[in-house]
C-alpha cells in the first residue's frame, strides 16, 4: 500500500502533471484517455488517503527537498503575473491589489522573516482535510469527465476555428491539484500559494470564452479574490508578529503557542468570505456563469468557494467562544437569508443556482460561527451534501442549456415531456436540496438546533435569519420544479413529445449526472453512518465533542431526534405508491379550465375563445416578484448591510 506521503504527492501533483500534459495534447481521443485515467487514479488516491487517516490518525509531514524555495518562486511569479494582468487589461483594481500584495509579501518574506524560516509541518492532514479532498477529487473528477462531452458541443456551437480545449483542461484539472494543496497545507506560506493558484485558475476559466462579458467577469472575480489574498497576507504578517508562527495548527490552538489572535483570524475569515462569494462579494460568483457550465459546476460544488468555507471552518477552534465567532454566525446567517430572498426574483437558472450556492455557503459559515460540536457537524455535512447536489444541478442545467439554447427558467417550461430523463434528474436533485429526508435538510435541521442552543446572546437574530432564509428557499426551488413539470397530458392537444434521440442518455455527461445524483441520495439514506464514521470523528479531531448520537442509525441530538431511513421509507412510499398504483384512463383526461370555449389546438398548444370571439392561445408563466425581491430594489440594502456587518466584525475584534 502506498504511504501517506506519496498519496499526498499524487493528489496534489498528478492533477498538475495532467494539466501540463493536456496543454500539449490537442487530439480529442488522447485527451479523453489523458483525462479519464488520472481522474480514476485521483479518486482512488483520495479513498486510500481516507483509509490511511481513519486508521492512523492525522497525517503530518514535511516533504524533503527544496520545496520551500520552489514554493516561494512560484508565489512571486504568480503575484507578478497578477500585476501583469492588471497592466495588460488596464484594470486599476487588479493592478493595485496585485502590486500591494506583491510588495507586502516580498517585504514580509525577505525583510521580516528570518532567512531559512521553515514552517513545520508543511502538511497536516486531518479528517476534515480528507473529507474536503474526497469532495474535490471525486466530484471534481466527475465534473472534469463531464466536461469532455460538454466542451465538444460547446466549441461546435461557438464554431471556433482552432480548439482552445487544451487550455481549458489545463486550468480545469490544475484547479483540483491547487485545491487539494489548499486543504492539505498547514504552513501558511504554502497555503497562500495554493490559495493564489485557485484564484488564477478561476480567473482563466471564467474568461475562457474571451468575450467582453467573460473578460469583465474574469477581472471582477480576480480583483475580488485579490482582496481576499491581500487580507491573507496581512493576516499572516500579524499572526507572525503576535506568535512567531505561521502554522495553522498553532493558530487554531493545537500547537505549542496558543494566544488568542483575533485580528489575524478575522482577516483570514474575511479572505474566506471573499472566496466564498459572501455579500458584498457575491458579484464575482454571479458573473462567473458566463463561463462554460463545467466551470460553474466546479466553482460552485467542489472547489473555489469551498476553499473559502473550508478556511473559516478550519480556523473555528481558534476563535471559539469569542466575539469573532458570534459575528461570523450573524454574518453567515444574514447572507443565508438575504441571498435566498434575492434568488426568488431570478429567472435565469444559473443565477438562481449561484444565489442558492452563496446562501448555502452562508449557512456553513454561520454554523462555523456558532462553533459547537453540533454546528460543526452540520457545517461538514452541508459541505458534503451541497457539493454533490449542486454538482448535479449545474451539470443538468448545462445539458439543458445546450439542448434548448436558453438558461431562462421560463424557457424550461414542460421539460419533463421534452427531456424527460434530464428533467427528472434535475427535479430529484432539487428535491434532495430542499426537502426531508435528504441530507441538506438534515444539515439544516442540525444547524437550526445548534443555533437555538448557541452560546451567544445574538442567537435570536441568527435563528430568525435562518428560518426566513429557509422559507425563501422553498419558494424559488418549488417554482422552478413547477416550471419544469408543467405539461399537458398526451392526447389533449399536447405538443409532440421529444424523440428519444434528443436526449443522448448514454453519453458520459448523462452518466456523470446520474452517478452524482445517486451519490446524493445514497449519502442521504446513509446519513447516520456518514456522521458516525466521518463527520463526528472529523469534528472530534478539531477538538469538538461529538453532538450527534447515531446508535441504531438514528440521528439524535440532545434536543431532537429522527431516523433518516424510516423517513425515507415513509416519504418514499407516500410519493412512489401513488405514482405506481394510480391508473388514469385516457377518457378521464379533460382539458384545463380556460374561462372560454376550447378550440381545436394548434402546434403551439390549446387555444380558447375569449371576449369578442377572439382566439387566444393558452400561455402560462412564472412570477418572479422582482419589484419586491429584485436586485434593483434590494441590492443597495443587501450590500450595505453586508459591509456594515463586516465592519462591525472588525471593529469589535480590534477594540
Amino acid at each position: 500500500m502506498l504511504s501517506g506521503e506519496s498519496l499526498v504527492a499524487v493528489l496534489v501533483l498528478l492533477p498538475v502533471a495532467t494539466a501540463a500534459a493536456s496543454l500539449a495534447i490537442k487530439d480529442e481521443r488522447w485527451r479523453w484517455l489523458l483525462i479519464i485515467l488520472p481522474s480514476g487514479v485521483l479518486i482512488a488516491a483520495s479513498l486510500l488517503l481516507l483509509a490511511q487517516v481513519l486508521e492512523n490518525g492525522p497525517l503530518t509531514f514535511t516533504p524533503s527537498g527544496p520545496w520551500d524555495s520552489l514554493i516561494l518562486i512560484v508565489e512571486l511569479v504568480l503575484l507578478a503575473y497578477f500585476v501583469y494582468v492588471g497592466v495588460a487589461r488596464r484594470h486599476l483594481l487588479v493592478l493595485g491589489l496585485g502590486a500591494t500584495q506583491l510588495v507586502l509579501f516580498a517585504l514580509f518574506k525577505f525583510a521580516w522573516l528570518p532567512s531559512g524560516f521553515k514552517v513545520q509541518p508543511a502538511f497536516h492532514i486531518d479528517l476534515l482535510a480528507v473529507i474536503m479532498c474526497l469532495v474535490i477529487s471525486v466530484i471534481g473528477s466527475l465534473i472534469v469527465m463531464y466536461a469532455l462531452n460538454y466542451m465538444q458541443s460547446h466549441e461546435r456551437h461557438l464554431k471556433l476555428g482552432a480548439t482552445r480545449q487544451h487550455v481549458f483542461f489545463f486550468y480545469l484539472v490544475g484547479f483540483l491539484g491547487a485545491m487539494n494543496g489548499v486543504v492539505f497545507a498547514n504552513s501558511l506560506l504554502w497555503f497562500l500559494l495554493f490559495w493564489g493558484l485557485t484564484t488564477l485558475c478561476c480567473y482563466h476559466l471564467i474568461r475562457h470564452d474571451l468575450t467582453d462579458e467573460a473578460e469583465q467577469s474574469g477581472l471582477r472575480a480576480l480583483w475580488m479574490n485579490l482582496v481576499g489574498g491581500l487580507a491573507l497576507v496581512t493576516g499572516m504578517s500579524l499572526a507572525y508578529q503576535a506568535s512567531g508562527s505561521l502554522s495553522l495548527l498553532d493558530l487554531t490552538g493545537f500547537g505549542t503557542v496558543a494566544p488568542v489572535m483575533l485580528l489575524p483570524l478575522a482577516l483570514f475569515c474575511f479572505a474566506g468570505f471573499t472566496k466564498a462569494a459572501q455579500v458584498p462579494f457575491q458579484g464575482w460568483l454571479l458573473g462567473a456563469m458566463v463561463a462554460p457550465t463545467p466551470v460553474s459546476a466546479l466553482l460552485h460544488s467542489s472547489t473555489m468557494v469551498k476553499a473559502g468555507v473550508y478556511l473559516v471552518l478550519r480556523l473555528a477552534p481558534g476563535y471559539e467562544g469569542t466575539y469573532l465567532s458570534a459575528g461570523i454566525a450573524v454574518f453567515g446567517a444574514f447572507v443565508f437569508m438575504i441571498t435566498s430572498v434575492l434568488a426568488i426574483s431570478q429567472n435565469v437558472s444559473k443565477r438562481v443556482l449561484a444565489y442558492s450556492t452563496i446562501s448555502s455557503l452562508g449557512l456553513i459559515i454561520c454554523c462555523a460561527g456558532i462553533n459547537t460540536g453540533l454546528a460543526i457537524a452540520a457545517a461538514i455535512a452541508l459541505i458534503i451534501y451541497h457539493a454533490v447536489v449542486k454538482g448535479v444541478l449545474f451539470l443538468a442545467v448545462g445539458i439543458m442549456e445546450q439542448s434548448i439554447h436558453s438558461r431562462d427558467i421560463e424557457d424550461m417550461e414542460g421539460l419533463v415531456t421534452r427531456l424527460p430523463a434530464l428533467a427528472g434528474m434535475a427535479i430529484i436533485g432539487m428535491v434532495v436540496m430542499l426537502f426531508v429526508p435528504f441530507g441538506v435538510l438534515f444539515a439544516k435541521w442540525a444547524g437550526l438546533q445548534a443555533a437555538a442552543a448557541a452560546p451567544t446572546v445574538w442567537f435570536s437574530l441568527v435563528v430568525t435569519f435562518l428560518v426566513v432564509g429557509s422559507a425563501a428557499g422553498i419558494v424559488f426551488w418549488v417554482r422552478w420544479i413547477g416550471r419544469l413539470m408543467s405539461h399537458t397530458a398526451a392526447g389533449a392537444g399536447a405538443p409532440e413529445a421529444a424523440p428519444p434521440e434528443a436526449e443522448p442518455r448514454g453519453s458520459l455527461s448523462y452518466l456523470v449526472v446520474a452517478v452524482l445524483l445517486a451519490g446524493g441520495v445514497v449519502l442521504s439514506v446513509l446519513a447516520a453512518p456518514l456522521v458516525s464514521y466521518l463527520i463526528s470523528p472529523a469534528g472530534a479531531a478539531m477538538g469538538y465533542n461529538p453532538a450527534l448520537d447515531t446508535a441504531g442509525w438514528h440521528l439524535k441530538t440532545p434536543f431532537g431526534f429522527f431516523t433518516p431511513w424510516v423517513l425515507f421509507v415513509v416519504i418514499g412510499a407516500a410519493l412512489l405508491l401513488p405514482t405506481l398504483l394510480v391508473r388514469v384512463r385516457t377518457e378521464d383526461i379533460r382539458p384545463v379550465y380556460l374561462c372560454g370555449e376550447h378550440r381545436a389546438s394548434t402546434a403551439g398548444g390549446p387555444v380558447f375563445t375569449s371576449l369578442g370571439d377572439q382566439a387566444v392561445p393558452l400561455v402560462t408563466g412564472g412570477f418572479y416578484w422582482s419589484r419586491a425581491f429584485g436586485e434593483r430594489s434590494l441590492n443597495v440594502w443587501v450590500n450595505g448591510a453586508g459591509i456594515a456587518l463586516l465592519a462591525a466584525l472588525f471593529v469589535g475584534v480590534i477594540v
Partner: protein
C-alpha cells in the same frame, strides 16, 4: 418511539378525519349564523366528501392526481409524527414538503389559474413557515427540547411565557387554514381572477383527497396550538378551539387582501413578535443564558 406513542399516532391517523370534518362542519355552521343564515348540518362536510368521492374521475393529467395523493399522505405523516411525540422541526419540514406537493399538483397542469394559485401558495408558505419554525425555537427555549413528547412533559403552560409567539401563531394559523384575509392562493368561493387557484383543476375524487388532507392539516395545526397549554390537556384543547373560533370571526369580518400585505404582516408583525418573545425570554424570563 415507544409502543404507546406508536399506538397514539395510529389512533390519531384514524380519528383525525372525523375530528377535522366535524370541525369544518362547525365552521360552516357558525359562519352561516354569523352571516344570518341557518347553514348546513354539521355532518355536511362528510356528505360532501362522499359525494365527491363517488364522482367519475375527470382530470387534466396523471401527475396532478399523484401529487394530490402525495399531499394527503405526507400530511398524514405529519399528523402521525406529532401525535407520536416526534421532533417538531422535522414535522414542520415534512409539512413544508406536503404544502409543496399541493403546489406541484397545480404546477404539473398547464393551467393559468392553477399556476397563479400555485405561485400564491408559495407566498403563503413564505409567510407562515418562518413563524412556525421560529415558534418551535421559542418553545425549545422554554422546554429544552424539540420533541413533542418532551414539550408535553413540560410542567408550565407555555402560553404564560410565550404570549407574543402565540399571537404570531394565530396569524400563521389563518394563513395555513386559508381564511380571510389570507385566502389568497385559493379563494373560499370562486372569484373571477383566481377561479379556485390551486384547486382549479381538481374535481370529484381528487378534490375529495385534498379536502381530506385539509381535515388532517386542521387537526395538526390545532394540536400544535394546544401545545401552548399542554398540561392539563383539556386546557390546551379549549385553547385550540378558542383559536379556531377566533379564526371564524376574523374570516367573517375581513376581505381577501394583497400578498404584499400578507407578507408584511407575517414577517413584520409575526416574525417580529416571536423574535421579541425570544428576546424577552432571554433577558427577562430567565437569566440562564449569557
Amino acid at each position: 418511539m415507544s409502543l404507546t406513542e406508536l399506538l397514539i399516532g395510529l389512533a390519531a391517523l384514524v380519528l383525525a378525519p372525523f375530528v377535522g370534518g366535524f370541525l369544518r362542519g362547525v365552521d360552516r355552521r357558525v359562519t352561516a349564523r354569523m352571516q344570518g343564515r341557518i347553514g348546513p348540518p354539521v355532518r355536511q362536510p362528510f356528505y360532501d366528501f362522499l359525494k365527491l368521492w363517488a364522482k367519475a374521475l375527470s382530470l387534466p393529467n396523471k401527475a396532478s392526481l399523484v401529487w394530490a395523493w402525495a399531499y394527503l399522505l405526507l400530511t398524514m405523516v405529519t399528523v402521525f409524527m406529532l401525535f407520536a411525540g416526534q421532533d417538531l422541526l422535522i414535522i414542520f419540514f415534512v409539512l413544508a414538503f406536503a404544502a409543496a406537493c399541493l403546489a406541484f399538483g397545480a404546477y404539473s397542469v398547464r393551467s393559468p389559474y392553477a399556476h397563479i394559485g400555485a405561485h400564491r401558495e408559495l407566498l403563503q408558505i413564505l409567510s407562515y413557515e418562518p413563524i412556525l419554525l421560529l415558534t418551535v425555537v421559542a418553545i425549545f427555549l422554554q422546554t429544552g427540547t424539540f420533541m413533542v413528547s418532551g414539550v408535553l412533559e413540560h410542567g408550565q403552560p407555555l402560553l404564560l411565557t410565550l404570549p407574543l409567539a402565540f399571537v404570531a401563531v394565530l396569524v400563521a394559523l389563518g394563513i395555513k387554514l386559508r381564511k380571510s384575509p389570507f385566502d389568497i392562493s385559493a379563494s373560499e368561493h370562486a372569484h373571477q381572477e383566481l377561479v379556485r387557484g390551486v384547486y382549479t383543476e381538481y374535481s370529484g375524487r381528487t378534490l375529495a383527497l385534498i379536502e381530506l388532507a385539509h381535515w388532517y392539516q386542521l387537526v395538526l395545526i390545532l394540536a400544535f396550538v394546544a401545545l401552548f397549554w399542554a398540561q392539563p390537556l383539556w386546557a390546551g384543547v379549549l385553547l385550540a378551539l378558542g383559536a379556531y373560533f377566533l379564526e371564524f370571526v376574523v374570516d367573517n369580518v375581513t376581505a381577501r387582501l394583497r400578498w404584499t400585505w400578507m407578507l408584511s404582516i407575517s414577517w413584520g408583525k409575526g416574525v417580529g413578535l416571536v423574535l421579541l418573545n425570544i428576546v424577552l425570554i432571554q433577558f427577562v424570563f430567565s437569566s440562564a443564558r449569557v
